[in-house]
Symmetry: C2
Subunit: 194 residues, 2 copies
């Protein structure tokens, strides 16, 4: 290593840790000092790589999408009943809410904190929600083609309503609700498919 | 007025203004300094009345419930079709989301910011959501008794799912979504009643 060269660090590791920090604390409340100490890197190195706290945050949102949300969307790509796949996706978010995780969902949290004040982040959040909606809609169209979903149902409307419902679950899950109540949200929401 | 007695102020006016401030900015981000200046009162007078910033915030949540949410619940108390009343309630939240108000809903915002860190506030939020759910459930039971809602439907599950959906609308409404998309959320959500 040449003298004076900034210490190398594992970018992916920083993004992963930062994601956990922003997820648990929120964007404004999460200070970078602890993160820098844990990683043993300087603020300048971090800024050289990510530009700013906001730049790092945008990277963590993309990382969240590629890790957490991809897991949920992968449930829709399994063979077999497409309706069961859609139910499994809603169950994924029900399970998060049942876990009583105080973190909620990074996308939903960011929606509330920054959705109306930062246009670039709002656009990214819309894009993430649109991807989720499109994956659900595609599964519902396939279900309809196979006769698993009534012809009278609108995959476009239901996929949007289900995307909205999982955001609701991510938010209300923070309240440590009675598990029986969360199961009722799940069952009532899925009655859109009946 | 006796000398030395703190300046009188209109408690209700302070609560109303504070509600607007917390609603727009969030609990942590809303500083009291501007509020005190506008009202021409001292921090000490405010603390003598409300105990703390948190005490004032709890009063504003109760005020929000009595003003904003009561308007929504009143829609369920009209004569005529109970199903139409329930649809009007969901439309109330759809309209908020269509309005592109960046404030969202004070209850949903607080859920995200404090729902998992402040037990007393979490309990109050649960109570507010429970009241909304019970009002919807009661309307759905009446609809079922009148034959407006199929016997196979569960008012308990659907009322919880609708409460969850209006929280979702309050949150996604902050993203300034395409009005056509918000209308699809509305229609898809109401397909629970079909």
């Amino acid at each position: 290593m040449r003298p004076g060269r900034p210490k190398e660090f594992d970018t992916q590791q920083v993004v992963e840790w930062a994601m956990q920090g922003f997820w648990l604390n929120g964007y404004e409340a999460f200070g970078l000092t602890g993160l820098l100490e844990c990683m043993g890197i300087s603020r300048q190195s971090l800024y050289d790589t990510f530009g700013s706290k906001r730049g790092l945050f945008i990277r963590t949102l993309e990382h969240y999408r590629q890790t957490q949300l991809s897991q949920a969307i992968a449930l829709l790509e399994r063979d077999g009943s497409q309706i069961e796949n859609v139910k499994a996706l809603v169950r994924f978010f029900e399970t998060l809410a049942l876990g009583g995780s105080c973190r909620g969902c990074l996308v939903a949290n960011t929606l509330v904190e920054l959705g109306s004040s930062d246009d670039e982040i709002a656009a990214l959040l819309r894009e993430i929600l649109e991807a989720l909606k499109c994956a659900i809609e595609s599964a519902l169209r396939e279900a309809q083609a196979r006769g698993e979903l009534a012809e009278t149902k609108s995959p476009a409307e239901i996929s949007r309503a289900l995307t909205n419902a999982v955001i609701g679950l991510a938010v209300t899950g923070k309240l440590q609700m009675d598990p029986a109540d969360i199961r009722q949200i799940y069952s009532g929401t899925l009655s859109m498919l009946d």
